[in-house]
Symmetry: C2
Subunit: 439 residues, 2 copies
């Protein structure tokens, strides 16, 4: 059943909010380390500039603002308690990240932060001082702009949200960027105190949950002709570096039956990844790196290295695919007289979106699209998101926006103003549905 | 019918010659730019040192010596004409090369030069001055140690023999080594005069032919349990650099049916090379280099580059395989929505060994192995040799020596002293058979 909780919200007001989001996406796109492209990495001067912009926009809608010890920019709208603001009320966090991959699009992460600000604009009530705003809900609202989700600069993703989740690892301070600058040096230069990183961590009892709107980074909504989806889970991911060892031999003088060609073994492996994952419902595997050694035109490759990125809706599915692939690799390499080994370099379990938050987002979408004939789509997210960290301390819910042709991490990345308008409305309705839940 | 032309040649004398060849292979292996490995490249100090050693050994068997304008080391045994030496008689050249690949074995090329010196030792007659020697044959004998066959330093093979063949290309002077030194600079530093390179060229009327003994660089003789083979031709070779173009996409969000994964296309291509060439009798193809771009763990490769080395006994066979492979690539890439293109970077037609020289080498092998039950093996050489250049000015004949397990261009490269002894005898007998041919 559809219930619109914002009956007074005029289409014009939502359209204006969406136009502001689109214009601010353009404005943030101009804050880049690389002229002509978009690149904005953790602890850079661009990071500082977009935090200042975000803080300004947060204050514009009456939020109090702070930058935390990990460089996350946070705005807060206190709850009302007995007619006054309640600084201690638990908060619903809504947000995403402002950092980018190299040569990025202008929406990934960014649109979720800016939509959260528009939700605040729609829901807030004036504070007693006339300048600040308050949340009309039984909880505070915080808008969070995470400082590092992509991991572009230090090779380690989700740094900002890990600090908030209290899962920061002090070993990370020694990570270096391409110029050899350590994360510690970069933090100091940015004006942060590494010794205080723990202060960024939030306790579960301070939080009601975390909501994030994000472009889909895939084509499913575009294919279905739908604007919005509920996210069921953020993918379970494993990454491996694989090595195939054979024997480097003279390309002219070595007949096929004496060859142990490591590259042909790796080629069969890459095709096996595709074949096995195609037969699965919700597992996707990618070989993104492959190189043959010694890499001479006239030498049969004695070694090949390749990467495997494996993502699944559930850990079990993903692990079953890895087991099946391992058995296939044994057969392939055995037949060719090759040896293979794999080193696991990343393992992140699936983060299931909280059923309650899935329900309120579903209700929010129905509220934004009362005439839609179909139930809202429910999709899992093969891409990683800040919610993967935040899931450690609070419930996570995500709303996906249609992403034309599924192009992301690319300058052609897109989302329509119409879908952003629907998304803002759906997100605002979701928050109201959550507030209406018995607690 | 077997006819031994060296009835007085005692097994002891041949065995001693073979032992000397083996010891000198060890001695030359110590002349290396890389301690613990063998590496000796064109116009290096190691090149100068082995040329001096070779010249010394040439003079030891009574030859006159010179280093030509391309750094080839040449020894000459004049023919006798009316009891005196005939400096103008055409010469039978016998030899191979002294340069190596990186981390080389100790026999490739080298053993052929040293065996030629032993043939001279067996056949020569004293000259009138008691110091020099003369050829007892109706032609002079020259032993040639080519200066560059492998092309290790400047990426262009057969430089030494190309100068002798008069096919030197002045563009090559601008080739650079890994340190940016041009071939011209290197030649000047070595003490050569680039302006006189043409003086290294020989006229066809100065030559009777060219004979070369070489390890097989393949396992055929080892598999057949035979010591020696006649070479029918030196492989026809083409090399290509191929590019596959697809679309780089987010690895998480792009379902298989929307991917145009260039690496999977290239993987199928590498396997197609193997499948097609396996079905052929005498064509062999190798993909030695392959790389995916952008080469990120979490991005579906938008481009892949790979090399193809294609060798065949005959040009037609080789070209037919390339045509078949091209049709396969059209199908593979078409199915995957990929584009492909190939740039041909090398094309060398097959060099057929002269039938007369094949016959005299066959007779030479029979003379060395009078009790062998089988006819000598006839093999084509998939690997390139100096004869590929020299074929432009004179007849070429080659003798292959058994190469255990076919390992070459590797420290484990081997040949037995017993096979070297048989090879020396066969080569000497071949020269006598050639001398006995009506001219």
């Amino acid at each position: 059943m559809t219930r619109t909780l914002l009956p007074d919200l005029t289409p014009d007001r939502v359209a204006a909010a969406a136009r502001r989001v689109m214009a601010r996406c353009d404005e943030l796109a101009r804050v880049t380390a690389t002229p002509g492209e978009i690149e904005r990495v953790y602890l850079s001067t661009e990071h500082a500039r977009v935090n200042r912009l975000a803080a300004e926009w947060m204050r514009e809608v009456g939020m109090s603002t702070r930058q935390d010890a990990a460089g996350n920019q946070i705005g807060r709208l206190d709850a009302i308690h007995r007619g006054a603001s309640d600084r201690d009320a638990p908060a619903l966090m809504i947000g995403s990240h402002l950092d980018t991959v190299p040569d990025a699009g202008r929406f990934d992460g960014i649109v979720g932060v800016l939509m959260a600000l528009e939700v605040v604009r729609l829901l807030r009530v004036p504070g007693p001082d006339g300048e600040s705003s308050l949340s009309p809900l039984p909880f505070a609202i915080e808008v969070v702009a995470f400082s590092d989700e992509e991991g572009t600069r230090f090779g380690k993703a989700l740094l900002g949200s890990s600090a908030v989740a209290g899962t920061w690892n002090d070993d990370w301070w020694q990570l270096t960027d391409a110029d050899g600058t350590t994360l510690r040096q970069a933090a100091l230069e940015f004006g942060l105190d590494p010794g205080r990183i723990g202060e960024a961590a939030r306790r579960p009892d301070e939080l009601v949950g975390y909501l994030e709107a994000h472009i889909e980074q895939g084509p499913e909504l575009d294919r279905r002709g739908q604007s919005l989806a509920v996210v069921s889970s953020i993918a379970s991911a494993r990454r491996f570096q694989l090595v195939v060892e054979g024997e480097a031999r003279h390309a002219g003088g070595t007949p096929y039956d004496m060859r142990h060609d490591a590259l042909l073994g790796a080629s069969e492996a890459a095709l096996a990844v595709e074949r096995i994952c195609r037969g699965e419902h919700h597992v996707i595997g990618t070989v993104g790196q492959l190189e043959a050694f010694p890499g001479a035109v006239n030498i049969v490759p004695g070694e090949a290295h390749f990467s495997l990125d494996l993502r699944g809706e559930f850990d079990g599915e993903r692990d079953r695919v890895w087991d099946a692939l391992s058995r296939d690799l044994d057969v392939i390499m055995g037949r060719r007289g090759l040896r293979w080994r794999a080193r696991e370099v990343h393992n992140a379990p699936a983060v299931m979106c909280a059923p309650l938050l899935q329900d309120v987002i579903r209700a929010g979408i129905r509220g934004a699209l009362p005439d839609a004939p179909d139930d809202p789509a429910t999709l899992f997210s093969p891409a990683g998101h800040d919610g993967m960290s935040i899931g450690a301390i609070t419930d996570v819910g995500m709303l996906f926006l249609r992403n034309p042709d599924g192009i992301s991490h690319h300058p052609d990345e897109a989302v329509s103003a119409a879908d952003v308008a629907l998304g803002i409305r759906a997100l605002a309705e979701s928050v109201l549905h959550l507030a209406a839940e018995p607690r």
